[in-house]
Structure formats: C-alpha cells, structure tokens
Symmetry: C2
Subunit: 191 residues, 2 copies
Amino acid sequence: MTKSSLFSSLLLIFVLISSSTSSKASICSKNGIPLVRNISELPPSDYGRGGLSHITVAGSVLHGMKEVEIWLQTFSPGSRTPIHRHSCEEVFVVLKGSGTLLIASNSHEKHPGKPQEFRIFSNSTFHIPMNDAHQVWNTNANDDLQVLVVISRPPVKVFMYEDWFMPHTAAKLKYPYYWDEDCFYSPKDEL
Amino acid sequence: MTKSSLFSSLLLIFVLISSSTSSKASICSKNGIPLVRNISELPPSDYGRGGLSHITVAGSVLHGMKEVEIWLQTFSPGSRTPIHRHSCEEVFVVLKGSGTLLIASNSHEKHPGKPQEFRIFSNSTFHIPMNDAHQVWNTNANDDLQVLVVISRPPVKVFMYEDWFMPHTAAKLKYPYYWDEDCFYSPKDEL
C-alpha cells in the first residue's frame, strides 16, 4: 500500500466514524427536534424482536417527555409481546387489525397464573391495570395488528416472564427497554 | 282528572324519573365497564361547543384512570379550542385533516403574547409544553380535523383566555372541564 492510498484509507475511516457518531448524536439529541413531527418520517425498528415495528411517537429518552409516552406498534401475523408487567398505566388504541389480549387480572398470587383472553379489534381500546401481567398477540393470520400505546411514568421498566406460571420474583427486569437502549446512556445535553 | 288517570300519570312520572336516574348512574358508574371497549360505540358530544365532537376514550372520571387520559376529538372546519393552558403534559396525534396549532411558547411574561403558528396535518404529532398557552384550530375549510389527545394528571384543570394578551392571573379556571362535569359530582361507587 502506498503512502497516499494509506492516507486515503485512514481519511475514509475517519469520515465514516465521524458521520456515524454525529448521526447517532442527532438521533439521541433532544435539541433541534421540531415541535410538529411527521410520524411517517420517524424511523421504525424491530429492535431484534421478529414481526415488530416500533416507533416512539413521543418519548421520554428521545423527546424529553416526563409523564406520558406514546408508541406506534405494528405486529405482523403471529407476532406478540413478551408476557410482562410494569408499574405504570398503559392504554391501547387499536388502529388496524385484530388479535388477542391475554391478561392475568388476578396477579396477586406468587405468579400471574392462567390469563383471561379478550378479543381486540380495529377501533377498540383497553387499558392494563398497573402490574397485571399481560401479553398482546396478533392472532389474526392475515393482517397486521397496529396499535397506539400510551404509558405513564416513562421510560418504561418492564418485568418479563417466560410463562404464566413463572414466579413474580423470577421475572426479569429489562431496563432500559429495547427502544430506550440506544439513547439511554448518551451524554446529557447540558454536559 | 279521574283517580285512575291521575294514578297513571304519577306512575309514568315515576317510571321516567327512575329510568333517567338509572341511565345516568350507568353512564357515570365505573362498575361493569368492559375491559375492551368499541370506540365507535362510545357516545360523542359537543358539550355545547359548536363544531366539536368529543369522546373520552379512557378517562379519569369515567373509567378510573389515574395517570393518563385519552380523548378522540373531531373539529369541523373553522372550529377550534379556546386559548388555554394546563399544568400537565399533552400530546396530540393527528388522525385526519389538517389545521393550525397556535402556541405561546414564551408564556413566561404576564400574558401569553403573540403565538407562534404551526401547520398540523394527518399523521403528525406534537406536544404542548406544560403551562404554555395554546389553541388548536381547524383552519381547513373543507375537512374535519380529527385528533387523539393524551394528557397526564387527569382530570384536566383548564385555564382559559379570551385573547393572547389577557394576563395569566385573569385566565378563568374551568374545572371540572366540559366532559368531566356530568359525572364529576355523582356519588362515589362505594357510598
């Protein structure tokens, strides 16, 4: 490798690193976020969870919300959330599709126990009582299930269960949650 | 009037009073509300505000929510909210139509002052910083503006302004707000 091609390669690496750093900073910075945002232009991701498309519409980590947070989520046929609970209020508005809500509304034993099942459908709404273990499942084989989700007390702290009979004490805390991870540990704006 | 027709009239009045009481009780009671609700079946009202159609999708007074509340509101062309402020977070998701958000983001003087104007449109989102005076206006002459509104700290306590230069101290508190009035003073379930 000649000196000049080595220099070019190093320059290229430097440019790539700088641009990826600045792009990360701009995604995670709360500065310069427009007041009115086009949801179609916000980047969806599956965060490694097959069949999920998640957009944080108004978020704590991303947009500085302190009391409420809103997500737009699409579940492809057959996909579902983990069985989980959280110490916050959560309301769903179903925008498209249909599916099943599983909820252990008597989660006051040592484990969630056998859940009740409810059919959810386009233009329906439901809320999850605080700390009730639950799971949202697109049980419709043909259509996506799209929901708008509202939570209080962001960012969300999620305890996940492998099954409905796992003891509450064994549920695994996932915090920061998938969509909060990228920006959670980024330096604060004022530093 | 004969004795029997007097009796019939009294019976009719009794039946009418009972049915109106029980119907009011069922609208305002948190007992027996299904977990999954069909939003299309929830009754909209204009609450005396011309051009508005409001549905409380998940509410504090109606459904026992403690930390978040969700409204579905439709504004006919030309209709608008009052100029107002509140000490809670508020997020809008525009479902249909377009319009204008007016917001006095420097409400730290004695009055809100001249607001900034932002175009809002289908599939856009925006949030109102706490205590900033604002107004949402369907400035589109042809189409309805439909928004999903999320607030924290329900039920909402609204301070209303007649114009942008009214002193903050003269803004009028409307509490309970229009859609909370009907059930706000109804007896608690446990009494």
